[in-house]
């Protein structure tokens, strides 16, 4: 089932949560709504579910207007951040809750309900926990029960509100991969809300980046990362280093540091800020003709195959920089024996003085 959101607006008193949002989610896609808290992503999800009423605009499922349908008539599966399991019911009864409430004509027989519950339990890999109460489950298990419960009525739309928000890092990672696989097994159009960039990037077919009640960009994870549509998107997706300096048409300077940049006239002379992603730079014992950025190592942390290094600029103005280097190359550099180190950016994002994103450039 496809989902269309058209010009949705919502305010809470004086605070405008959503300004004129429009979205198109094709059938069977898994879309991540990504944004910082207060960006309106949860409100949008709740409006799609019918748990919240929009002040204006329409919500369509398969081109059918459902704007004025109650949550209970929309037939969507909804998974809550805090699971919202019924603690007085066993796992099996939680999952069967919706099936038992169906009007008599549609309600499956007792046996069919039992079979359906068993099927769902095996889908979420909790076959032997049917008789437990929610309080006897771990967070990850609870969330899987919540998911099974949401899927019990075979909804064509599945909405998940920060589904892994309350779980610890390891369980989170397992569960989101599992969700990705599950989504490929069943035919359902899903939207999930998250503030975790990594999660959105890993799980979604498409990412919708939201900020202050507006959609900043919608695209595949690679697209929003490689071609951010706005400064906000660039800023929000992963850590960035910001280098501020002056540009004269050929060179960017800040104190003792300089970069030779050819922006082909896209950046006017004057103040020019450069954004550098941590993994788009190298460290060397000597500067090049195009890049002279002296730095000193202020801290490092080794994790897996990468080394995250904190660098203090020497003789030029910038905050402490963070770069991620390949561990083998880092060791080969023997940084402790070098009298001086130089940062060599591979790619930089220019930010023009009006705050918009300029072209991406490399020192040459």
């Amino acid at each position: 089932m496809s989902i269309q959101v058209e010009n949705i607006r919502k305010s809470f008193g004086a605070f405008t949560a959503l300004h004129d949002i429009s979205l198109d989610v094709p059938t069977n896609q898994l879309v991540g709504l990504l944004g910082p808290s207060g960006s309106g992503k949860t409100t949008l999800l709740r409006i799609i579910a019918g748990l919240e009423r929009a002040d204006g605009g329409r919500v369509l499922f398969n081109n059918e207007d459902v704007t004025h349908l109650d949550a209970r008539r929309r037939r969507v599966g909804f998974v809550f951040q805090q699971y919202a399991l019924f603690r007085h019911l066993t796992v099996a009864d939680n999952i069967a809750f919706g099936l038992r409430l169906l009007p008599r004509a549609e309600r499956p027989s007792r046996r069919d309900i039992r079979d359906r519950v068993r099927e769902l339990l095996s889908l979420v890999q909790l076959d032997n926990l049917a008789g437990r109460y929610p309080a006897q489950l771990s967070g990850g298990q609870k969330q899987r029960v919540a998911l099974a419960r949401a899927l019990a009525l075979k909804p064509e739309v599945l909405l998940l509100d920060e589904p892994f928000g309350a779980l610890d890092a390891k369980v989170r990672k397992d569960l989101r991969r599992w969700l990705r696989r599950l989504h490929e097994q069943i035919s359902v159009t899903s939207i999930f809300v998250t503030h975790d960039q990594e999660e959105a990037m890993e799980v979604s077919d498409k990412v919708v980046v939201m900020s202050q009640g507006r959609v900043e960009q919608m695209g595949s994870p690679l697209q929003v990362y490689e071609q951010p549509a706005s400064r906000f998107v660039f800023d929000f997706l992963g850590h960035i280093n910001s280098l501020e300096g002056l540009y004269d048409g050929h060179n960017w300077r800040s104190g003792d540091a300089f970069l030779r940049l050819d922006t082909q006239g896209a950046c006017p002379d004057g103040a020019l800020t450069l954004y550098l992603r941590p993994h788009e730079a190298e460290l060397a014992a000597a500067p090049t003709e195009a890049a002279h950025l002296p730095v000193r190592v202020a801290g490092r942390s080794v994790f897996g195959g990468t080394v995250t290094v904190e660098l203090e600029p020497q003789g030029w103005g910038a905050e402490v920089l963070e770069v991620e280097l390949d561990r083998v190359r880092w060791d080969a550099l023997q940084p402790d024996r070098q009298p001086a180190l130089y940062l060599l950016p591979r790619r930089l994002q220019t930010v023009t003085c009006d705050g918009d994103l300029g072209p991406q450039v490399a020192p040459a």
């Binding site: 008539r73 805090q82 019924f86 007085h88 919706g98 409430l101 309080a135 419960r149 949401a150």
Partner: protein
Amino acid sequence: MTALLRTRHSVLPGFTLSFSLSVLFICLVILLPLSGLAVHVSGMGWDTYWNVITDPRSIASFKVTVLSAAGASVINAIVGLLLAWVITRYRFPGRRLMEALVDLPFALPTAVAGLTLAALFADNGWLGQWFSLAGIQVSYTWVGIMIAMSFTSLPFVVRAVQPVLEDLTPDLEEAAATLGASPLASFRKVILAQVMPALLTGTGLAFTRSLGEYGGVIFIAGNLPYETEIVSLLVNIRLEEYDFAAASALASIILLASLVLLFGIQGLQARLVKRWHGL
């Protein structure tokens, strides 16, 4: 001893002291009077005991007390749940005042409450005149007794239910709604089902309390033997007649009923809590 108690080592010292004090206190305040009562009763012999409690006047007073207490408990279960719901779910001016007023029946001497209620529901009282217009006699009937009992025991229900309602986050109702539950179905299957143990506990306590209520009731009851005479009053009458044995016999019945109810409630509560909290 330590193996028997199996307490986890606590950072606060003084388990032995605090435990002993608690036991001592329970003995002095509760067990001692109870055993006094038992001694009185056991001295009178089974036949006399039976005669006292099956005396028609006693039977009538048991009936009045239990029926009024049951009626009061039903009212309290409904009103108490509603009050607790309003206090926990809504934010409105005067909410704190309402919250404080709930405890008023506990704070007020019950005799004061009784006098006030008697004045209110008298045939020419503020409320009583409307009831008498509708042809309902409140004062000097079991209806009056019921109202007095429900006034003095309402806080039990509210205070028992309130914490549970506070625990029930709105996302539970929303979850029920997305699963197709009508408002009525989600109230019954989600809210009421989870509140039920606390509601039963609160109502049970209110009932127990109503069985023994004295001050709140006697002013409005009229105290007609065989009609509106409650057990506590009858106990008092027997005491004034220096018939300690009869008074004790009657009191022992109320006591027994209260104890059975309390233990029953405790057991039920423990079973459900154990299940739901995964212990």
